[in-house]
């Protein structure tokens, strides 16, 4: 077979795994074109290399810049070839991300040759009103988590009689565990910009901003390069107006994903939300009519214009049309970026695409710190806005964190509250103080000092924080706790009543023991214990041990394990008895 082209995935996660070296080595070794392309989605096997041959495309995974790997790749040896993940390809529907991985992300000619800007061209031949109608008809809903109907938002901005109107692309993907927007900006910057240009034509906007979190340097670089290219080609001229497109970097505040907080941050202020109304479409950035939409929402728009609203809305369910990107991570075999039709079940994503073993999964967290967990028993739920809401979770922006059986749900809830109470801007009392009290209560429970009243307090305060907060952060902050209480109450009770952590994750509620039958007395654990908590005769003193797992990780015999608190040896107790 002859090799015609080689494509190496060089988005952030590929680079983290060493893709840049692979790309450089391949360029030295071969004369066929070697391209650095966007995120191919199979992130579990980074660095990824796709080889185009006369007989079709072959995908290789876990390729390092070693001679052995490069040789294997160039000789097309099956050893490093990714096994055919047909479960995944059957379930996926790549409408938004269809162009990812085919060319260098900032190569504008390649984007055009794959049908890029067709949607914009079509839109420009039509009246703004008919473009708004097309988007309305597609029933596209905001992909950032709010789920507001995009076409309606557009018509609100279009109806404003102002000489200056602003469109803001919300790329402040602060939800820890989500990377859909990063992937889109890194890998398909032109598609996001094309969506914004179509929106500008439809609504009469004059300035376009992209508010991106500073933690995404590659996304920012690619988007900026793409904007320069647009300017050179004069593609930012809509009608007779030259549109100004600017990228502004966030500075690390989760609350800035909320639209009014985002506007304040753009204006150079503290990113605190304000009361709505007035809605941004009435008074937004510097008082101008403004519309804020998520990256993925904009990336959907060119596809709708290109293929038509009917084609778009033929996919999905009543509770959500089209496809949705998910960042699948956590306890699954094949984490990565997936694009699936709405209405697919959680089980199909987690077991069939993610490759998780049935029975190994306890729950999935959707919507990050604003969402909730859904237990494995409900994995036949279809994924759309309304179905997830009815379970006490939310669709959110698309983070799916799979939680395995060996994780503690109370600790997970504590983690989310730790995040949200620190990210609270402090404006509303219930969010500022209530969320902190909830966090402290969860700390107490995981530390083994909880009482039954604490559980009731969490439920009560959770409802109050939801009701007493102005913006989405506070109104959703208690969700992880309330959902966990709803489905995993028994774990809370085990912590409080029996002083046990069933998953053996909470350090205060477990001991460490060495199983003498398996121990070969190799001294590895002694060497690795920074606190000298292990005696010469291989007994862990749990009074000294901090449960850092160093010994457990170092043991080659798997002889060391965590057990329920009280089962291990404690020096102080031994002294008293002796």
């Amino acid at each position: 077979m002859r090799i015609n082209e080689i494509r190496v995935g060089v988005s952030s996660c590929g680079l983290a795994a060493g893709a840049q070296d692979v790309l450089n080595r391949l360029k030295e070794r071969t004369d066929v074109p070697v391209l650095g392309v966007g995120c191919i989605g199979h992130c579990y096997a980074e660095p990824l290399v796709e080889v185009l041959t006369d007989a079709g495309a072959l995908m290789f995974g876990n390729i390092q810049a070693k001679t052995k790997d490069i040789d294997a790749l160039l000789s097309l040896s099956p050893e490093k070839q990714l096994h055919n993940r047909s479960e995944r390809t059957d379930k996926e529907n790549l409408r938004i991300t269809g162009m990812i991985g085919k060319s260098e992300p900032v190569d504008i000619d390649a984007y055009i040759s794959f049908g890029g800007f067709d949607g914009l061209k079509k839109a420009l031949t039509r009246s703004p009103q008919s473009v708004v109608d097309e988007v309305k008809q597609s029933q596209l809903r905001g992909r950032g988590g709010g789920g507001f109907t995009t076409g309606v938002k557009w018509s609100l901005l279009a109806a404003k009689a102002s000489n200056e109107k602003v469109i803001i692309c919300n790329a402040d993907e602060g939800d820890p565990g989500a990377f859909m927007d990063r992937s889109l900006m890194e890998s398909l910057p032109y598609q996001v910009l094309e969506g914004m240009l179509i929106a500008a034509h439809a609504t009469g906007a004059t300035s376009l901003y992209i508010y991106c979190r500073a933690e995404y340097p590659l996304a920012i670089r690619n988007i900026r390069t793409a904007i320069d290219q647009l300017r050179q080609r004069k593609l930012n001229v809509i009608g007779n107006k030259v549109l100004d497109i600017e990228v502004k970097e966030g500075a690390g505040a989760f609350v800035c994903g909320e639209e009014t907080a985002l506007i304040h941050s753009l204006e150079g202020k503290r990113g605190m939300p304000r009361f709505r109304p007035p809605y941004p479409t009435d008074s937004g950035y510097h008082g101008l009519p403004s519309m804020i939409s998520n990256v993925e929402t904009f990336a959907n728009v060119p596809v709708i214009l290109r293929d038509g609203a009917t084609s778009f809305s033929s996919i999905g369910t009543k509770g959500g049309r089209g496809t949705k990107l998910f960042a699948l991570a956590g306890d699954v075999k094949y984490p990565g970026l997936v694009e699936v039709p709405m209405g697919i079940t959680l089980g199909e994503i987690i077991y069939e695409i993610g490759g998780a073993e049935p029975g190994s999964v306890k729950a999935v967290q959707t919507g990050g710190p604003s969402g909730g967990c859904i237990p494995a028993s409900l994995f036949d739920t279809p994924v759309d806005y309304d179905s997830l809401n009815s379970l006490g979770a939310i669709m959110g922006s698309g983070g799916l964190i799979v939680i395995g059986n060996n994780r503690c749900m109370v600790e997970t809830a504590r983690y989310f509250l730790d995040f949200t109470h620190r990210e609270s801007c402090g404006k509303c009392t219930f969010c500022r103080i209530g969320a902190k009290r909830m966090f402290e209560t969860l700390e107490r429970i995981t530390a083994g000092h909880g009482v039954m009243d604490d559980i009731e307090f969490l439920e009560d305060m959770g409802k109050k924080v939801k009701a007493g907060s102005l913006c989405g952060l506070g109104a959703t902050a208690p969700n992880p706790v309330l959902a966990t209480l709803r489905y995993f109450r028994s774990e809370f009770e085990a912590h409080v009543v029996e002083r046990q952590c069933p998953a053996l994750e909470c350090a205060a509620l477990c001991d460490v023991i060495i199983n003498k039958a398996q121990c070969t007395e190799c001294k590895l654990c002694l060497k690795n214990c920074a606190l000298n908590a292990i005696s010469e005769d291989y007994v862990v003193d749990n009074d000294i041990c901090t449960r850092c797992n160093s010994c457990i990780e170092s043991c080659a015999q798997d002889a060391i394990a965590r057990v329920t608190a009280g089962e291990g040896f404690r020096g102080s107790v031994a002294k008293e008895v002796g």
Partner: protein, 155 residues
């Protein structure tokens, strides 16, 4: 004296204050008192307002970080895959806690919300270079590499 003359690339209007602060931090590593005063002056806003912006956003640092800035990702995927243990191991090895810099000014340690490489969890980055799929062994090996680099590049 540092005059922060590179601020002149920005239009002196309030909306650019975050950009200006980011530029200073990018170049100097942190935001000194002089830097904040200069910003207030340049962007023509009250020093208290600059202080307000700086304290609001977690990106801004008021103390000088170490030569190697270790950012341990505590995003959800990393957290459930063991961030607390990784922090513990690094703290024990370097003798510094979250948010601290060691006495030699070589390492500083912080946790960050999410580096966006969730499928490689758990992840940390040192001066922007990302390391994934960490366990105790690889974490300690990475630290060793930077300690060695720090000794051989000592000023």
């Amino acid at each position: 004296m540092n005059t922060f003359s590179y601020l002149k690339q920005f239009a002196p209007e309030k909306g650019n204050i975050i950009k200006g602060l980011q530029e200073i931090q990018q170049r100097e590593g942190y935001l000194s008192k002089e830097a904040l005063d200069r910003c207030a002056d340049f962007f023509n806003i009250a020093p208290a307002e600059v202080e307000g912006v700086v304290t609001f956003y977690s990106q801004f640092k008021r103390v000088k970080p170490g030569r190697y800035r270790i950012s341990v990702c505590d995003g959800t995927a990393c957290h459930i895959k063991g961030t607390p243990l990784i922090l513990d191991w690094i703290s024990t090895d370097l003798g510094i806690g979250d948010g601290e810099t060691d006495a030699d000014g070589l390492f500083s340690l912080e946790t960050v919300a999410c580096l966006g490489c969730c499928s490689l969890a758990p992840v940390l980055s040192i001066n922007g270079e990302i390391f994934g799929n960490l366990n105790r062994k690889s974490t300690l090996r990475i630290l060793k590499r930077f300690k060695k680099a720090g000794v051989s590049n000592a000023d």
